[in-house]
């Protein structure tokens, strides 16, 4: 009887990697403790943590800047909602366009040049335009993010559909699958790993872009907090805001990485 390969059991993360992260935090602490970098330029980790704790759910301090009474959390939520809304819209549009362009050569010939050029240029050039057209509102943020996300997701969806082994589609046809079944059971499932990869990459960049758009002009948001603090040279609060955003970004990446990994757990692991 031929042998089947066995999968190895692994921890979700490497303990040595944690050591690396801890080392970085220790470095930060040392830089501020030993005054290698002046306090005004780099607040201590402890200071940042207390600032976050104090101002997270409600902050009269932030309220003075017209940044809402729900403190950091309120602003963070604004940013998160924007990122997610844009991501969902971009997924629907980008995946549809990508799949269509993989199936219809003429369609691909028409929109590929536009999409690929959009992928090479800095999308945030459009940010000031959205600010003019939509004013200081969340539409400006969402519009920018949608453009950014679509160019990435389109690329990944198109490649995923083009790389899908046509044997699977042929096999499903010979097994009597209806067109609807072919799209759902074969096309969608077969392209999921690559599409998930694209979504993850788009999301990773989206946080910084959202912050940037808010820095340019927004009613609320964590970027607005950073900007207000920068104007007043309040580095402690500024770093606190940056850190919360970074935690959200890394946390989301880890979370959807795990979720996507679970959904596509059938995939053969790449040999590293």
């Amino acid at each position: 009887m031929d042998q089947a390969p066995r999968a190895a059991r692994q921890l979700p993360f490497d303990p040595l990697g944690i050591a690396g992260l801890v080392a970085l935090i220790v470095l930060w602490w040392a830089l501020s403790y030993f005054r290698i970098v002046p306090q005004v330029s780099l607040p201590s980790p402890a200071g940042v943590v207390t600032t976050i704790a104090d101002n997270f759910f409600s902050s009269s301090y932030l309220d003075n800047y017209h940044l809402g009474q729900q403190g950091m959390a309120g602003n963070l939520l604004y940013s998160i909602v924007n990122v997610l809304i844009a991501l969902v819209i971009a997924c629907v549009v980008g995946i549809t366009l990508g799949f269509t362009s993989a199936r219809l050569a003429l369609f691909r010939a028409a929109i590929d040049p536009v999409m690929l050029t959009a992928g090479t240029i800095p999308v945030l050039v459009t940010a000031p335009f959205f600010l003019v057209w939509f004013g200081v509102s969340r539409s400006a943020q969402i519009a920018l993010l949608i453009i950014y996300d679509i160019t990435i997701i389109y690329l990944f969806a198109q490649r995923a559909a083009a790389n899908l082994d046509p044997t699977y589609v042929d096999a499903s046809r010979t097994l009597g699958a209806s067109q609807r079944r072919i799209v759902l059971d074969v096309y969608l499932m077969g392209t999921l790993p690559e599409v998930f990869g694209g979504i993850r990459i788009a999301l990773a960049g989206a946080w910084g872009l959202e912050a940037f758009s808010e820095l340019l002009g927004a009613p609320k948001g964590i970027g607005r907090v950073i900007q207000a603090m920068a104007a007043d040279m309040d580095t402690q609060m500024m770093v606190a805001a940056i850190v919360t955003l970074a935690v959200v970004a890394v946390g989301f990446d880890f979370a959807i990485g795990s979720v996507f990994g679970f959904i596509t757990r059938w995939k053969r692991k790449a040999r590293l």
Binding site: D170, S172, T174, M189, G190
Partner: protein, 260 residues
Amino acid sequence: MAEVQLTSVRQVFRRSSGALVEAVAGVDLVFRAHEFVCMIGPSGCGKTTLLQLVAGLMPVTSGQIAVDDVAVSGPSPERGLVFQRDSVFPWMRSLDNVAYGLKCRGVDKAKRENIARDYLNQVGLGAIERSWPRELSGGMLKRVAVATVFANSPRVLLMDEPFGALDYVTKLQLHQTLLGLWGHYRPTVLFVTHDVDEAMLLADRIIVMKAGRVADDRQVTLARPRTVESLALPEAVAHKEVLLRHLGLNALVQDGKSAQ
């Protein structure tokens, strides 16, 4: 179980450069019900194209393909196809793969899982019904594919060099598996291969394709069950000599006749 009729079948492809390629250049064949036919031929002789045409995966340029006088107009589980490449869906567990054709036909869950389980057992894979395809070896994947096709009780069974990528021993084991399943109700089989020994071990009839045409059509009357020893019988050797010559290899050096 069913008779497959090919009448003046011609298939022409257009390359991206614009040139025309005649993959099948006029084939007239009738595969009788319950017959096990092997098609062999050198690469590019059109055997795979012909198989795909019978499967209904693409329309015929000219001519007609019919099963029991009903024209073929598209793929169907009645003409089950075991592909050369891995066609087992990696995102479904083995049991779900085998049950897929039944699911498409609306068979309810409990019933189709029972049928699927039964066929997995028949190919010797009852223990791995919950496994993901990535955990299975090449031979096991092929067995899943064979079980999947048989679960739909096809009247015609099409096989496109299904065991080509497997090692010698696994291949022989799969022959036994295949013949075992085939023995239940004997669907008409069209088995494409480049392996002459394989053709001799499996087929009632061997058709040689060359440059899109039928070059030879031989009945094989070796007694079943056939084993590796059967290949040494005089009738088998005679067939093999002719077949190899068709494929471009000249005489076996058996009795001192020099190869030319």
